[in-house]
Amino acid sequence: MNPEDRLASLMRADAGSRQPGDGRHGITRRLAARRRARQLRRAIIPAAAAVVAVALALILLPGGASTQRVHAANQPGGTGTARGTRPPAPTTTPSSSPSPGPSVTSAAGGPSASSTTASAAATGGARLPAGYDLGQATEQSGSVYATGTSPAAQNTGSGSAVVLRYPVSGPTSDGATSSPLPGPLAYSLGSGGLWVVTGAQPYASSTALSTLVELDSQTLATRASYPLTGPAGSVDAAGGAVWVGLDSGAVERFDPAHPAAVMAFPSPSGGSGAAESVSLSPDGSLLYELIQQPLAVVERDASTGKVLHTASLAGPGGDTVIATAYGVWAHFATGMADTVEGFTAAHLTSYANIGGTDFGESSERLGDAVVGRADGTGRLYVWGYQRAGCFDLKSGTFIAAFALPDTANGTPVAAGPDGVFQLGPQGSQRVTIPATCTVG
């Protein structure tokens, strides 16, 4: 064998021994990061140009300095233009609020002025529109909920998406599909309805204003919609309220009984990234945010918005934060892989770190879900492409692993009080889990 053939043979043998994991999640995340960087550049360059123009004006126009400085101070901030398009609303600060604290905003004219009463009806049965892809799912109240996202919404962040409800038992025709909404979507079930944030782009900042939409949790018919003060990416309906995380890192609180009333918590000091995920503690006293820039979990007093603790996450981007009675769980990327890290509630001290190797799976795509009980016990489920594992919610200790029936890439998994389910075009499929994973 000549040297060329020998070299080719050796290289092929070496490379052939390497079986790469599924890279789709990593590719999608890197693509989103590139888009976000591009959006930031688009926002920064005009602002920098404006600052240079103002500086030149200060030099060339004697006497105009004070006016120009005020103008320049308002220029940076790429979303300023978008916010300026929102109809003005009177703002009042409650006298009981400490400073700095939340601001309370009442939309002019009450709910009818700020909301759009729904007329769009949902369709009967859970029917994923052709070409749409199922997103992350949750199981709650006897139904598996998931988003269906159009290719345009996935690729450009501007397209339609729907919410689907699959019954845990029974045909998909007993489920429901919402009317199309501007996608991608984030949603949360609780506080009397299913609450959806439109234009929620994972891992990316948007310039379009988002809307909070209230759906009937059974029929998925739209009840009402409320404009938000900026682009938003996350929502948690809990504690009798609806919490919306904005791309600015700020959080807005809606009262379902008076949805026009808004309590706004400003962005955490030093943070500039989106509130990718928000979660209220079970007792309603603490609010947790996963912010992207710098990547961290932020703990706030839920009544004042004051930042109490911050825990940095060692990774380029995060997905989810889930507050439980025994800990706060954050799901984020660590480069090529994903991890799920547990922190003590109230102090955010790290006490558990879970990767795919804990249950024999690639760490490139991990999902997470918590099934908790009122007494605080429960299970943390973490899944990859083909396998999933359940962990003790209190200690983070691994309990058991099990196989997922549908190994198609990215097939959504939902864990909830009724079990673990995997979604496909034909509906939800119950996953057989070890008895030790069942919450007693």
Binding site: R6, R18, Y145, T149, N155, S188
Partner: protein, 174 residues
């Protein structure tokens, strides 16, 4: 307890502003990982580089006429950049040129590589690229030259010198 949920973006679907991504992914992802792994000496780097290359391809979309060639060139360029960064990260007082022999010795500790990758890593970057693209990628001289952005004559020189440098190792690996 209510559990917040967010739609994780699935892999971009077919026919949206560009080539049919899924077949492209299936046919080229593993190969891109392996190519980058051989070029950098580390398949973990290879996965990151391949994902980055695919993200750039998806971003470029329909503007790319030959996605496979675009991917290959991107993988080569990203591998080269990765090696440069690794060398610089070690803050050598007098970092050698990436094309100089021994420039990549610093990455050896970071990679548990096979014997052939260890031998390839000792080569100058251009020689390694030429050898991997020609004999692993099975590309023509013209394709190697196009991917590397050099002339065919330069490719022949890199191949000749690379093979000569590897001859003792190839003999030892028999």
């Amino acid at each position: 307890m209510s559990e917040p949920s967010k739609a994780v973006p699935p892999f971009p679907a077919a026919g949206v502003g560009g080539p049919d991504w899924e077949p492209l992914y299936r046919s080229h992802y593993a190969g891109s990982v392996r190519l980058a792994g051989l070029l950098t000496g580390d398949y973990h780097h290879g996965e990151e580089i391949a994902q980055d290359a695919f993200a750039r391809l998806l971003e470029a979309g329909a503007r790319v006429e030959n996605p496979a060639a675009y991917l290959r060139a991107t993988v080569v360029n990203l591998s080269r950049s990765r090696l440069r960064r690794l060398v610089l990260a070690r803050r050598r007082p007098d970092p050698a040129s990436p094309d100089s022999p021994g420039a990549d010795e610093g990455i050896e500790a970071a990679a548990a590589a096979g014997a052939i990758r260890a031998a390839l890593r000792r080569l100058p970057t251009r020689q390694r690229e030429a050898l991997v693209l020609r004999f692993y990628g099975d590309l023509s001289l013209a394709e190697v030259a196009s991917t590397m952005g050099v002339s065919e004559g330069a490719v022949k020189t890199h191949l000749h010198r690379g093979l000569a440098a590897l001859a003792p190792q190839l003999e030892a690996l028999r």
